[in-house]
Every structure is written in structure tokens, then in C-alpha cells.
């Protein structure tokens, strides 16, 4: 089975891309269990807990990351360098993603045959 990596780099709610990436990850999980998700760059903002996007008429999709475990998506990583660069390394994340450095994530991505970067 080919391993697939999903890389997500968008701040949530400014566009629908972050939400649609989550949809794509959940849909793909039906086809393979060998799937990894990497939150890098501005993508780390997607993991901030207690988002209230109802005020700007967006769907609160962050709690849905909690479904990853149920869908057997266990390889979920967040870039600690991205968190530090944004002054966000001490904030509460909505899921318990593994914290990896930029270079560790780079290494990890290279172990996947399919790489989808959003």
C-alpha cells in the first residue's frame, strides 16, 4: 500500500482550503490507513482550540480533527518551529498531534510515496 502525506499550511476560515483539506483527509482515510497529516506554517493555527467561527458564518471544523483517531489516522504531526515562529508554542491544541521540528518533518515527508500539499 502506498503511503500518503497530507500537508496543510493555511490559516483557517480566511478561505475554505483548510476545511476542504480536512474533508480530503477524511475521505482518503476510507481508502488507506497509511496516511500522515502534517500541520506546518500557518496550518498550525487550525489546531487552536476554542475557535468560534459562527460570527463570520464559517463552520467550526476544528473539533472534527478529533475524529482522526476514529478514522485510524494516527500519524498526525505539528511543526514545532512553526509554532515557535508564531509565538504559539505554549497554546492549547485541539488534538494531541506529535510535535516535530521542521527537519524531522522534512525527513518524515520523504517516507511517503504520495505527497499532497495544500
Amino acid at each position: 500500500m502506498l503511503r500518503a502525506a497530507f500537508i496543510t499550511r493555511q490559516v483557517p476560515h480566511g478561505s475554505s482550503l483548510a476545511r476542504e483539506t480536512q474533508d480530503a483527509i477524511l475521505a482518503t482515510s476510507a481508502l488507506t490507513e497509511d496516511l500522515s497529516v502534517f500541520f506546518i506554517g500557518d496550518g498550525v493555527y487550525q489546531l487552536v482550540s476554542k475557535q468560534k467561527p459562527q460570527g463570520i458564518a464559517c463552520r467550526d471544523f476544528a473539533p472534527t480533527f478529533g475524529l482522526f483517531e476514529l478514522y485510524d489516522i494516527e500519524n498526525v504531526y505539528v511543526c514545532v518551529d512553526s509554532l515557535i515562529e508564531r509565538g504559539m508554542d505554549d497554546i492549547e491544541l485541539i488534538i494531541d498531534a506529535e510535535r516535530l521540528s521542521q527537519s524531522e518533518i522534512n525527513q518524515c515527508i520523504r517516507q511517503h510515496a504520495i505527497i499532497l500539499n495544500f
Binding site: V11, P12, H13, V48, K50, Q51, P53, G55, I56, G87
Partner: protein
Amino acid sequence: MLHIIKSSPFSKSTFIDSLAYFNDGDALLFIQDAVVMTASQHKYAKILQDLLPKISVYTLTEDLDARGLKCILGQQVSYLEFVNLTVSHSQIQTWN
């Protein structure tokens, strides 16, 4: 002049590009993904801090709340205050 900035400084160079066009007395309003500018300490927030108080800094509350973020720099404004800012400034430019 009121400058409205809409993009994250980490993903696009909008904020850096706009820097040279700020004059004393201007106001900056961060909306949409640009609310990350005032939500935590980082290199762009530091640049912004150095502009205070010659430049007024505002961030839209609804966009902060949407992302679970809190404003630590300048003032938070509601949609209504956003409208008031656009009325009280004769010149406005939006930086995409």
C-alpha cells in the same frame, strides 16, 4: 489614511510590502487571516509594536474569535466599529 490588511504575514508579503506606505497618524485594521498579526508575539508583531503609537492598530474581534485568538496589541473592534473607521477616514486602501 486607513489601511485594511487581510493576509497572514507568514504566508504572504502583504504586511511587509505595505510597511513603506504607512505615515504617522495612519490607522491599520487587521481582518480575516491578518488577525494573526496582533494575536501573539512574533517578528511581525515586533515590527508593529515599533510603529505604535504613531500608527493606530485595530483588529476585528469576529475574525479573532473565529480563530480562537486573542488580541495582545492595539485595540479590538467590532463590525460596527469597523464601519465607523471606514466612515471617519477619508482615504482607505485595502491590502490583499
